[in-house]
């Protein structure tokens, strides 16, 4: 799980409009390589838009996103490996857990997709259900497959949108352990969270969005607990 080349993200004056609605208003945020940032905010505050822009799935209406190396220099041309766990599971219900991981591992050019899929299925506790269709899984099990998919390419940056969704207490502990390992290995984590939990405790920094604007940052003196409290989340 060790990323060989940690990467950071620099958002500069990011705006995102959907018609006349502003999802993000001139958000500037620099996340250093290896940071673990909790993103708090009410529903509709722009957290998902910011994550999707970071994943380069959505083009910002204005502003730019750059990826930076540990020394602060920009990535030239090449894009860092980005893992993304979204609201939706981003896996195929009509394929088995193993088929899903094999599919994405092959697309990402893994040299040993079968071994990689097996290792991740073991890590997420689904090895015994590897041959079951995802549609037969509970929400929590689907979330585990979703997390395994995001970890396939050993991401340098991992974006998580409410990653605890559907997980039981044991699942949350497992996820917190996995994210801790990633953080300690130098992977940059940006995670949208609702409230304090085992996962938010991993954060080395917290930022809060409100109505599309960045309104608080622990780097500027706010404390992590207040980030969630003020968010009303």
């Amino acid at each position: 799980m060790t990323p060989t080349d940690p990467a950071g993200i620099r958002f500069t004056h990011i705006e995102k409009r959907y018609g006349g609605l502003f999802a993000l208003r001139r958000v500037s945020l620099e996340i250093a390589a290896g940071e673990c940032v909790a993103l708090a905010g009410r529903n509709g505050s722009g957290k998902t838009s910011l994550l999707r822009i970071a994943a380069q799935l959505v083009r910002p209406s204005a502003g730019e996103v750059r990826f930076t190396r540990a020394n602060g220099q920009s990535f030239d041309g090449a894009r860092p490996r980005i893992g993304y766990v979204a609201h939706a599971t981003m896996v195929y219900d009509e394929l088995t857990a193993e088929e899903n991981l094999l599919l994405f591992a092959r697309l990402q050019g893994s040299a040993t997709p079968a071994a990689l899929a097996e290792r991740l299925l073991r890590e997420v506790g689904l090895l015994e259900r590897r041959a079951s269709l995802v549609r037969t899984f509970s929400r929590g099990m689907r979330q585990r497959v979703a997390i395994a998919r995001a970890l396939l390419q050993q991401p340098q940056i991992l974006l998580l949108d409410e990653p605890g969704t559907g997980l039981d207490a044991e699942g949350l502990l497992w996820l917190a352990g996995t994210l801790r390992e990633l953080r300690d290995a130098g992977c940059t984590l940006l995670m949208s969270l609702h409230g304090e939990s085992e996962i938010s405790a991993l954060a080395t920094r917290g930022v809060r969005l409100d109505a599309g604007s960045l309104v608080a940052d622990t780097r500027d003196g706010a404390d992590l607990r207040s980030i969630f409290a003020l968010a009303g989340a």
């Binding site: 799935l57 993304y84 599971t89 981003m90 195929y92 009509e94 092959r106 050019g109």
Partner: protein, 226 residues
């Protein structure tokens, strides 16, 4: 086109085929639909007359067109259920691979449906098709490719729009008119008592396919963006 594009396309095509052969959702629907059209129209023609030969080409392509619109509708909608399109976009080296795999799968499914229906057409309408099977296969391939290239692009656009069920046929039918006219004319020539190949029509189909394929390659990435 790099090796990454080709290998990504092959992997994605394998996924499309696996999903379809597991559910048989598209092939079953379209085969039943075309069968119904063939059977219903067979009651209105005198199968022993030359009418079948004259109207056969138009009938076949009308049935194929409606089957294609049934097939193309869920093409990208299925990727929205769990936001798998985003996962694909994050995984492939070239987003054109996603479109190319969908296009290949749609062409293949449409071609299989057409080939399954050809013997049924020959029997119900008393038209010998096997002496010109090779030429028919060429027209079916070029016509199906044209329908699929335009249809795949429009399916990607309409999947992200409101009123998507209405939008796809509205955009698709006018765009496909030239392909359908050319395919029908070439097919009609092949079903004639003295079969002949309208090379002008075949050439038109090949050019249409090439132009739309190039446009898809150049602008395809934008079709997949949110």
């Amino acid at each position: 086109m790099g090796l990454g594009l080709l290998s990504n396309t092959a992997v994605l095509l394998g996924k499309e085929l696996r999903a379809e052969f597991r559910s048989r959702e598209l092939l079953t629907t379209t085969v039943i639909f075309i069968l119904m059209v063939m059977v219903l129209f067979s009651f209105t023609f005198d199968p022993s007359s030359s009418e079948s030969r004259r109207f056969g080409g138009g009938l076949l392509w009308l049935a194929f067109l409606f089957a294609a619109s049934l097939m193309l509708q869920p093409c990208f909608l299925r990727e929205q259920t769990n936001d798998t399109l985003s996962a694909l976009r994050l995984s492939v080296s070239d987003p054109f691979a996603i479109l190319l795999a969908k296009l290949a799968a749609n062409t293949l499914f449409l071609l299989v449906t057409e080939l399954l229906m050809l013997p049924v057409f020959a029997v119900l309408y008393n038209v010998p098709v096997f002496p010109v099977f090779g030429q028919l296969l060429l027209v079916f391939f070029l016509g199906s490719l044209g329908v699929s290239v335009a249809g795949t692009a429009l399916s990607a656009i309409s999947a992200q729009a409101r009123m998507r069920e209405l939008l796809l046929p509205l955009l698709l039918l006018p765009l496909l008119t030239p392909v359908l006219v050319a395919s029908t004319q070439v097919t009609a020539g092949l079903l004639d008592v003295q079969p002949f190949v309208q090379w002008k029509g075949v050439g038109f189909l090949a050019v249409f396919d090439l132009v739309f394929l190039t446009a898809l390659w150049l602008f395809g990435e934008y079709l997949l963006e949110e």
